[in-house]
Symmetry: C2
Subunit: 284 residues, 2 copies
């Protein structure tokens, strides 16, 4: 990590993810600054060794000190923040992010971003259903994936910088894929599964069934405990991909429902065999 040693990093947004980033990067000996909307968060961060310095105001004097700016804001706020404050960025600064949708965020910002500054997208797949700086936990990256999503506007140096950040945070694996591949994958693996879990919990008041509940229902609904502020925003910012995956699932589910209705045991069996053979690939 030699080439990073003299870089100063600014983390914008000191929620659970932002604070965990800041603390972990600081443990590597880097100078880390922080911006938060609340003074109490800055105070907490300074007292707990999360940042070296912090500010609730976004000033040119403060922001221009940093070589790398990491946004840990919700996607819409991130776009607004860059629009409002990019004139303060140091020339040559590298900007990266933590948002769970890529195309709509990256292409939008890159369309108005200063030409002497570079945005490289990244997605730490390490969310938890907790929020706020008090929930920070530098251990959450250990078993998780870090995805870097360069566009045509990016240089190899920026990809390398994002990779170094992922390595310092301690992610298990680091992958590079296009924003389009990312958004399709995340719509299927994450957004669709959350929609399914939520729909299942909305079916009926099932609390009287708690005593009978085995592992299958618990497994399927674990992610039904979901942040109602962030997820609708993520859904909207990846809307067409999510709709495509939801339609795909609805089609398969309807096929199975119809087979049950028609007593078409052959079709049911075929779906079970396909399902079982594919699922084996995911065993670990």
């Amino acid at each position: 990590m030699k080439f990073m040693k003299d870089k100063k990093i600014l983390v914008v947004g000191l929620g659970m993810i932002g604070a965990s980033y800041a603390k972990k990067l600081r443990e590597h000996g880097l100078y880390v600054g922080g911006i938060s909307a609340r003074q109490s968060t800055i105070d907490y961060a300074l007292e707990n060794g999360v940042i070296d310095s912090g500010s609730i105001e976004v000033t040119s004097d403060y922001v221009k000190r940093f070589d790398i700016i990491i946004s840990a804001l919700y996607p819409k706020l991130f776009i607004e923040w860059v629009k409002n404050y990019q004139q303060f960025f140091k020339s040559g600064a590298i900007l990266t992010d933590t948002t769970g949708v890529k195309c709509s965020v990256l292409y939008e910002i890159q369309s108005f971003l200063r030409k002497d500054v570079e945005l490289i997208g990244a997605h730490p797949m390490a969310g938890r259903e907790v929020s706020g700086i008090e929930s920070m936990d530098t251990g959450i990256f250990e078993g998780a994936n870090y995805l870097i999503t360069p566009t045509d506007a990016n240089t190899p140096e920026a990809v390398e910088t994002a990779r170094k950040i992922g390595e310092m945070l301690g992610f298990k694996s680091i992958s590079v894929l296009s924003p389009e591949e990312h958004d399709e994958m995340i719509a299927f693996l994450s957004q669709l599964t959350h929609c399914i879990a939520v729909s299942l919990m909305c079916c009926k008041d099932s609390t009287h069934l708690v005593d009978y509940t085995g592992d299958s229902f618990r497994d399927l609904t674990r992610i039904a405990n979901i942040n109602e502020k962030m997820w609708p925003e993520l859904f909207m910012m990846n809307r067409s991909e999510l709709l495509e995956q939801m339609n795909l699932f609805e089609k398969e589910f309807s096929k199975l429902r119809k087979a049950v209705e028609d007593r078409d045991v052959q079709t049911i069996r075929e779906m079970l065999i396909l399902s079982t053979s594919r699922r084996k690939q995911f065993n670990r």
Copy 2:
């Protein structure tokens, strides 16, 4: 368990569940016999201390020795077996089962069962996606639920016998509920969730996504590894309940899909809040 000590128990079907039952009951000092279609299974069971005696033939001489008969056959086969061999049962014998659907099995058998014999339904919620006597495991009952499903045809004594069996097997909790309540609950908690997991795996060949797969997708599809012989039979024998639960889920999922399509963030948020508050009841 005093009153059980002198009872002889016959287990019909020595697959994973039947053999685990037999071995565990024998550990309590009971005399346990076994019936299997294959001599190799009987031999294995005798060699491994699963049963005291066994037979591949169903004869009056053998069957009439037993006070309690436990079927660990698939549901349809169970019905046929009772139809074919009930004339061999000892008068006053108690018959119980292990099938995962209740109404269609119990009411059918009770409609033709000899009047001097009693069938009390039971469902050990302790399946594994493995089969055969070699997979037996007397530890699988420990954390699991045992459900007793009496009908109007049952006596309190038979319920008590089923309860004693559940206790000896070591189940964590034992509940009594009607076959109708059982089938609705199992359609929602177990059959619907399996249908969802299977549909999700059938959506697309997702094996290239293995590297990116976080816990949510793994959690939702763990039960997509499913026995294609038994489950279609269970679906068919609980068809109308399952269809009702599938329709319920489809309605909620469509509502969420439409909200995403219409950019109706308010509805999405309401579903997420409801889902989160209900899921909290299932945390443990």
